[in-house]
Structure formats: C-alpha cells, structure tokens
Amino acid sequence: MAPAPSIPDDRRVLVIEGGTAEHWIDVATAEAEGYTVVDFTDDWTPFIFAEQHTPAGELLPNRYRRVLMGLANDRLDEDGAPLPAGQKNYLELYGIFPSLSVLRARFVEDGARTCHDVAGAAVIAAAETISYVSPAGMRADDARIARLRRELEDARHHAHAKTLAEFVERDPRWAPKLKLVEKRAAEKVAMTEVERRLGCEGFLHAPGRGRAKTEAVHQTGVYDDPMRLAVRQFQQKHMIYESNYLRRGTMTALGRPLLANDHASFLRALRERVVSAADIVEDGSAGGNIKNLADEYTTLAAEQLGLATVEGTVAFFHRHPATDFAHLRVAVKLPPRPSYHSAQMDLSIVIDRGDVWYDLPFDDTGAPRPQPRKKYPQLSLYMRDGHGQQIPLCRWRTTVGGWRADQAPDGYEYYRYKGSDVGPRVIRQVVAGPVWVAPESTPLRTLVKTKQVGTHPERVVNYDELGPGFMSAYGLIAGYFVTPGVNGRPDFDNGIRAHGSSEYLSMYSANGFSHGCHRLPNHLAIRLYSFILRHRQMRVVGDQATDIARQFLRDDDVFEIRIPSRGYAYVMDPPLPVNVLEGEIEGVAKEPILGYVPKPGVHYPGPPPPLEDSPEVRAGGVPGAKTEPEERP
C-alpha cells in the first residue's frame, strides 16, 4: 500500500478496517480519537530500554539498547558483535521477542517449507511424549522391552487369547506391561517423525550436511547431544518452558504446522507491544476481579488488525515488506484503562516465601535429604484503592534463597545458606541491563567460559553472567531492595533484588532456589518494572559508568573482569514499598545456619574460614548451577 504522502513517516499510523482495508492517519489524530498506538517498528524496545531524556531534553543513552535491538533483529550476538551469517537468536524465554521483520522472514521461509504433514502429526500426537533413554542405556532398554513383549506373548499364548488386548482385558494385571510396550513402540515411530521434522526445520543436521566440522553427528533413533541441542533450540524458538526432552509441550508444537507455530510467536510478540502501548500489567494471574487485560487487549488488537489468524497474518506480511518495519506503527481501539489506573498509583510488592527449609539438605552420611514444598514463593504487585483496600494486580511464581555452593577465601567451595530477608523493605532504584559485580565468594569455575574468538575457541571471562544481558545473574532488569536509612544514615543494602532471570525453569521447579533474590522470567520482570516506573514518581538517572577491574587465577591463566557500567538506573521517589512474608518454616531448624558448611565427600585442608560480610557477598544471583537440566523426564 502506498503511504499517504502528506503525513511524514514519524507522524503516521496505520488503521486497518475490516482486517484488510488500510489507511494512514496522523498520530495526533489517532490519539485524539481514542486509538492506542502500537509500535511495530524494528527498533521498538520495552519502556525500560526506550530512549530517555533529562528534563532539559538531553538524551541519556543506554549502552544496552543497541544490543537489545540487535538481538531482537537477529543482527547481533549477546556481546553486541555481528551475528554469524545464518544464525538466529531465539530469545523469547530470555525476555527478548523477535522483531516484526524477523517474524516476517519466518513466515516467508516457513511458508515455503513442507515439514509438516498430517500423518506425521498424528504419529507425534499418538506418542504424546517420548521417554528419555540415555545413549548408553539404549541397548539394555531395548532388551528389556523385548523381554517384556516375549513375556506378554507367552502369557497370551498360554491363556489362549487371540490378541494381547483381549488377553489384558481378561487379566488386567498385565495391563501396565502392555501399556509400556505399546508406549515404547509408539515412541520409536514418533522419534523418527521428530527427527524428520527437526531436520526439515534446520535444527538437526543429517551427517555431513550443513554442520560445522566440530559438531557431533546425530545417531538415528538416539537421544544424543545433537538431538538434545536441536530440541533445546526448537523450544527456545517457540518459548516452551520445558527441560530439553520431548515432553508434552514440545511434542505438541512439533505436531503443529510451521505457520501455526510462527503465528503463536507473532501473537506473543504482539502481546508485549500491546502491553507496553496500553501500559498495563494485569495478566489474569492475580485472580479475583482483576481481568486479564494482556490477553484481552492482544486479542482485540489482533482482530482489528486482521492478525488473529495465520492467513490474515500471512496476508499482512505480504502487503508489508520488511522495509515497512522501519517506521510502521498501528492504531487500535482498546477499552478505556481501568479506573484505578493513574500516573501516581499506590503500588507495593509483597513476596510470600512459601514453605522454607533451613535444615541441611543432606544427612550425616552425606545422602540428600528431601525438603518438599507444598507452597512455592510468589511475588504479587498490589495497588491500594481509594478505600484503602489492597488489590493484587498480578501474582507470579518467584524464587527464594536456599543452600548454594560458595567459594571461601581458602579457595575451596562449601555450602552456604543464602536466604531471603523477611520484613519491610523498599525499592528505590530499578536498573535496566543491570550488571552483577561478582563477589569473591563466586565459584571461579562459573566465571570462565569458552567462546569462539574469530575461528579460535578461547577461554574468556563469563560476561554472560555479569551482564548487561539477558543471561546476566540479574537478568534484564532488577529492583534493589534496601532498608531505608534513618536519621540521615544511608540505606542498608543486604544484597537482595527482585530481578529477571535467564534460569527460566528455576521459577517453576520444585528444586528451584536462588541465592536470596526473587527471580522472575525476564519478560515479566520487564512488564512489572515498566508498569511501576510509569505509575510512580521517578527520575531517570541513566548509565551508571564505573571502572571496576578485578583479576583472578584459573589454572595458569589470569582473567581480568572489566566492568564499564553497572547498568541504567531509574530512581523512585518516594520508593516502592516491599514486604517479604516469612512463609511456613518446615523441618527442625527454625533459624538459618550461618557460615560455611563442608560439602559431603570433599576433603578440606582445615576448618572452614569465617564468613566475610559485604552487600556483594550477601547478594543473590550467584550463578552456581547454571547447567543443563539433569533431571530425568
């Protein structure tokens, strides 16, 4: 569609009537007529990474903004260096949604592919899940299933039954064995289909095709490393919160047409832009009378724009080439915001720690001691209404601290209980793209990683953990909990934050603990703080330049951490009240155990050293266990 020549790019917004009839209007007219303007441009970022200015109009540059846009547009890698040709960033699970140009390219590419067929989808649906069997255990597992099948056949023969189904109906004691044998048979067929689908979509390479020389070769039918990595990439592309196995959510997506998956991605990206444009946080998680505005507004926007269906979205991208997303903004009519919304809302955060264990996680013999929880920690954003009533706007699972590995000054690792403080606090400072300054207690093994530098694998400081970045221990945004100072004294910072996190399963895991901080998925943390900052009195402080340099020895090499900035700060005045509820203390110990606790089975040169004390040592977010999920499905 030709743009209206009379309205400059930066002033025009697109209105779509009846799903397809497009016309441009001036942005001021749109706003005056009650439209909400949703930014479809490729350089869109959430509010916290948007360009901010001083009251005098001077730009306060954010050094992570360029990287964030580059990641969303598949142009840059996590360091801000150019992304190698053909590589994609699948970062929705890390809080970064693909740009509209990237989504458009996916629609174009996948529309030409023939990876999906009804028969294959039926095979995947029939299996529902595929049990994980390690490559080393496959032969034994096959033998066990074959043995079970022979047992079943022998028993059927002796019972003079015509079929196994008839036999099991007569003697239901055999039903579990038959079910297992049939499940494994269905899984074998489904595995073939999964391999075909992942190969067709470019996630799993056939031997010798499209893979690096160093890449391991997938063995057909085996859940080996190449397969696991392919599944992980598929899950990350489609924002599937599952560990890297073929569980229900992953299998469902593998059975769906490619464009249906792309459309789901599009709707997720649209949701973030609508939530930002409408300036809402209510997503139905709080229950009660608070509506799910995130879904309601996204659905309305998609319907008005003709984007509620795969076909409509394909047609939209057909009408709009990638170049349109340099300037494209759309206007949608959404219901008025709730009456309780205002520029100055009486907001507060309440964190319920849920069930808490202080006991050691192992017994006298060193064997793990289970510490089950029925109630998990939750973070709620409350609003006080005109009648003084506290109303939750959203409520999400979060984490609290627990037993973690800690590096002591003697160079050895011990266990240490890293708990979450209880009681009233405030958040004065919110930092976008926060940098976690690793304290001395950080296990050094977590501070070094291998990275491809040019064509050469090189050991480097693990800046992923430090940030700024989506993998940072503080995620993409953090609110700093402090106890306000009284009588002119400064605030007391005990190192606890509520922050986004790349450990996207830890919030939903029975065994997920932090180092004291309260983690949220990055995209929810972004929504939370964007909403808070836009509904409270706050000041944009901007980039927190610093010149921290620290060295440490790893093997025979010295590594130097260099941190040029602590992130991009916003300060709320008055600060946001926070209350952390104690929760239910389980077990024998009713107080946290302080100090280092030797790890079972580890020999130390002497008694544990005394605990050092500083906000950074106490700070949560130590990435001690950023490993792939090891749990068997």
Binding site: W403, V453, A510, Q551, L553, D556, E560, V602, E630
Partner: protein, 140 residues
C-alpha cells in the same frame, strides 16, 4: 586490599563514556602495561589466533582502532616470564586499557590461587540445580 581487586588508580578508563551523535565512527583503544609492575620488555596482544600487535614498553602502548560500538574485544596479553592475561576492551569510545601482568613466580599473590589440597576438593556442583520444572505454569 583484596587480591581480587586490581589497583584501580592504575587502570584508566575501562570502557569510557557512551558515544553520542557527532562522534567519529572509529574508536582508538590504547593498550599498555602498568609501569610500576616491572613490565616485560614487550608484550603481545592477541585476539583468538590473531596477533594484533605489540606493547613495546612502558610508554609505548599498542593502539588498536575499531569501529565504534562494534562489540567488545576479548584479548589475551602474553609476555615471556609472565602469566597470560585474558582481558576485554570496549568500543563505546576512545579509551585506555592499562593492564597489570603477573610474573609466574608471583602466582600465589593472585586471587584464586590455592595450595594443593586432597584430590577432587571443592569441585562438586550445587545441591540444588535450578532447572527441570516438571509441570511449569506458563506465564504470559
């Protein structure tokens, strides 16, 4: 002072300020060793397999030119008789990267050095890996 912290006074302008409109398209990064630390006669600056240049002495830094805001550079600085140093330079703006090299004999002065202990000491992972949600709630 902790062994963890490098003498900051000697480490100038780690990353510099952020570029603003009007700055040139390239940045200059001056890489040098700390004179007070008995520097080697010359040190090699490498990135991956590539040697970028040499620091020839206390007042003879190696100047590296890069496109502005083109991402950080992971460098290794090597000199005979010293431990290799892995460091990072940023491309936000012109900056000086002053590094302290450590003689091999001074290894025990570095943070992270530990006397040899019994085998496999302190190498096990955390008690509670953060992953493996069995039945995740799907947030939106």
């Amino acid at each position: 002072m902790s062994r963890w912290t490098v003498p900051l006074a000697a480490l100038l302008a780690v990353g510099g300020a952020i570029a603003v409109a009007g700055d040139t398209d390239k940045v200059k990064i001056s890489i040098q060793t700390i004179p007070a630390m008995t520097p080697p006669a010359k040190a090699e600056v490498r990135m991956g397999k590539k040697t970028l240049g040499l620091i020839l002495g206390p007042r003879k830094p190696f100047i590296l030119e890069r496109p502005r805001d083109s991402g950080p550079l992971d460098l290794v600085i090597r000199a005979e008789g010293f431990l290799p140093l892995h460091t990072r330079a940023y491309t936000f703006s012109d900056s000086k990267l002053t590094v302290k090299l450590t003689r091999i004999a001074d290894k025990p002065t570095l943070f992270g050095y530990r006397q040899a202990g019994p085998p496999d000491a302190g190498t096990t992972s955390s008690a509670h890996p953060d992953a493996g949600a069995v039945d995740p709630l799907i947030p939106r």
